[in-house]
């Protein structure tokens, strides 16, 4: 009965609309990367690349001058750089959730969004890795973080969560890149076989590695894809858990809590989906991809934001409860200080954007309206940045002894670097949109109804009738 009803639901709402054929999918997606570069693209990349170069300049300035150009001081030794790191790593998590977890759960709708969500992951993690990378100050000593034999016979301290982070985030980036490239191979082969110019054919031929689409290749390919999805799935949960241990294993009130790993993971997926939604709405509008990224796709992502947003809201209230219930004076003070102290403005921005805003997604009208969800996704992005700011800064600025307290403010370099990281992110994303098929063509073709051999039983129409009969019978039973 339930199987039959599922079939009915699937027929009512096709994953891909507009009566696509295999050829029309190839044509629509490939032609975006093959067409003449649109003028607006030059304008967009001109702006984002300028911001990116400003970022690179600021990094140079930081290496030259030292991290004193940031607003850091004692007691606040971690400021915007760490906030930005956690913010960007978190954003990446939605891409991995879409490409790995939704794949294992056989969520076929993911095929329309997985390619650019994974690209977003890669670029977000690049932005993230820069911040702790330059935070070490003497970046020419950064190799100390890796277990490399050196003249002092010293090794990294494997008991330190900061070192776990190096391994967790480094692995995360590399595995995401391998997974993304695996998915790209058949699509690059599609573009290779359409290429009109010699250069295109050679470049695409090189990157598609001579893919021939034979089932003897697909067999290994599909298993490799499944294995990579299986390997990435624990990463969705582990990477941000490890990031949270940077805080949770310390003794600072407001950091030293066991709720951090699940709370960070929920927040990461929440912010990531907000970013995927933002990018998807822009890309589908500009490139006319409404048939591929339908309103159903956006609605499903909004529902995930509603779920994870509620989890985040629950974590906020749970933290407060435990601060009171623990009876620990410092813990209680830290939380009252967050809500009513000098950083109350940041705290309430966070609560409004992360707890109140996503609750509007309970209404179908809200979660199916593109302009409204766009604004809401932006607000969630803002809120999630503030969440990390609240955690990092408000906890540090007022710790155990009032004599140590201080108010932290960023400098222009802090602000410039945060904005600059968006320049880097969007520059990479624009390059991706221009040259790489932004939707996984082979995967979309595989979820079209005519990709299933059973679709053709008896002239291709009988099967539909058979399903309807099954539903009717199921209803009777």
């Amino acid at each position: 009965m339930s199987v039959a009803s599922n079939q009915l639901v699937e027929q009512e709402t096709p994953l891909i609309s507009g009566d696509q054929t295999f050829a029309s999918v190839t044509e629509k997606i490939s032609s975006i990367a093959e067409a003449k570069t649109p003028k607006m693209w030059y304008v967009a990349i001109g702006i984002s690349a300028s911001i990116m170069f400003f970022f690179l300049f600021l990094i140079g300035y930081l290496v030259w001058e030292g991290i004193g150009i940031w607003g850091l001081n004692i007691p606040v030794g971690w400021g915007w750089a760490i906030v930005n790191f956690v913010f960007w790593v978190g954003i990446g998590h939605a891409g991995t959730l879409i490409s790995a977890i939704l794949f294992l759960f056989r969520q076929k709708w993911r095929t329309s969004i997985n390619r650019f969500a994974e690209a977003m992951t890669l670029f977000a993690v690049i932005c993230a890795l820069i911040f702790p990378g330059i935070h070490v100050g003497r970046i020419w000593m950064a190799y100390y973080m890796f277990p490399l034999p050196n003249q002092m016979s010293m090794w990294p301290n494997f008991r330190s969560p900061l070192l776990w982070d190096v391994f967790a985030v480094g692995t995360y980036f590399t595995v995401s890149l391998l997974f993304w490239y695996t998915g790209l191979i058949p699509d690059l082969a599609s573009m290779r076989d359409r290429a009109k110019t010699k250069i295109r054919r050679y470049v695409l031929g090189f990157f598609s590695l001579g893919w021939r689409g034979g089932n003897r290749q697909w067999q290994h390919y599909e298993l490799a894809y499944l294995l990579l999805a299986g390997l990435s799935t624990p990463l969705v949960l582990s990477v941000h858990s490890v990031v949270s241990t940077d805080f949770a294993t310390s003794v600072i009130p407001g950091w030293h809590t066991t709720i951090f790993p699940p709370y960070f993971v929920a927040g990461a997926i929440f912010s990531g989906f907000a970013m995927v939604n933002t990018l998807a709405i822009i890309a589908r509008k500009i490139y006319g991809l409404e048939d591929f990224i339908t309103i159903k796709h956006l609605e499903k992502m909004n529902i995930i934001m509603l779920v994870t947003g509620s989890m985040v809201g629950y974590a906020y209230s749970c933290e407060f409860f435990i601060a009171w219930y623990s009876g620990n004076e410092y813990e209680t003070f830290t939380f009252l200080n967050r809500a009513f102290g000098p950083y109350a403005w940041a705290y309430w921005t966070m609560v409004s954007c992360n707890v109140i805003v996503p609750q509007l997604f309970w209404f179908k009208k809200v979660r199916t309206s593109v302009p409204i969800m766009f604004v809401m996704a932006l607000l969630v992005n803002v809120g999630m940045w503030f969440e990390r700011f609240v955690i990092v800064v408000s906890s540090l600025s007022r710790d155990f002894l009032p004599a140590n307290w201080d108010y932290y403010s960023p400098t222009w370099v802090d602000v410039g670097m945060f904005i600059g990281s968006f320049g880097l992110f969007f520059t990479l994303f624009l390059i991706f949109l221009r040259f790489v098929p932004m939707i996984a063509m082979a995967e979309v073709k595989a979820v079209l109804p005519q990709a299933d051999p059973h679709f053709y039983h008896g002239n291709g129409h009988l099967d539909t009738a058979a399903n309807t009969v099954a539903v009717k019978e199921g209803g009777k039973a």
Binding site: F22, A23, T26, P147, S153, M154, W155, P156, F158, R159, P161, L163, W164, F167, A168, G170, T171, T174, V175, L178, Y181, T182, P186, S190, D193, R194, G205, L209, G210, W211, R212, G213, G214, N215, R216, Q217, W218, Q219, H220, Y221, E222, L223, A224, L227, L228, L231, P234, L235, S238, V242, M441, A442, A446, A451, D452, P453, H454, F455, Y456, H457
Partner: protein, 175 residues
Amino acid sequence: MKKTQYMIAEFENPAELLKAAEKIRDAGYKKFDCHSPFPIHGMDDAMGMKRSPLGWIVGLVAVVAVTAGVVLQWWTSSVAYPIVIAGKPFFSYQAYGPVAFAIMVLTSAFVSLFGMLALNKLPQFYHRLFDSDRFGKVTDDGFLISVEADDPQFDVKKTEDLLKQVGGKNVEIIG
């Protein structure tokens, strides 16, 4: 080097390709392949193929990698340069989980991709099949069967008849 000849035939859709594959398998052919723009469900059985060994390879590598990760952490902090940090034992295995896990995932992911490429004998930038103009369609919306002339069952006339009989169109010899 001896160049292998291929005979290819086009098919209408995934269902026809699947049916044709079953018949060619039943006719005793071993060296043939079914090309399609996406993997087709049930094709492995239709072609009479064994399961890919990649899972076992990656599984074995994962076990080796996670062991190597623990050994690395034990050796560096207990043997190579023992140093007391925060009063903890040299071999504080409780803290070694995240790094050992990361090393396992990283290594296994590399082996998944490169193992897949090795099993598929990729990269192979030139292949006889690319000489056919029709072959380019398989990455778009084409469904093709290619039979190697090396196959013991291969016979120009008989194979052509078989391919036509199972619904193949535009039968062509490459090479």
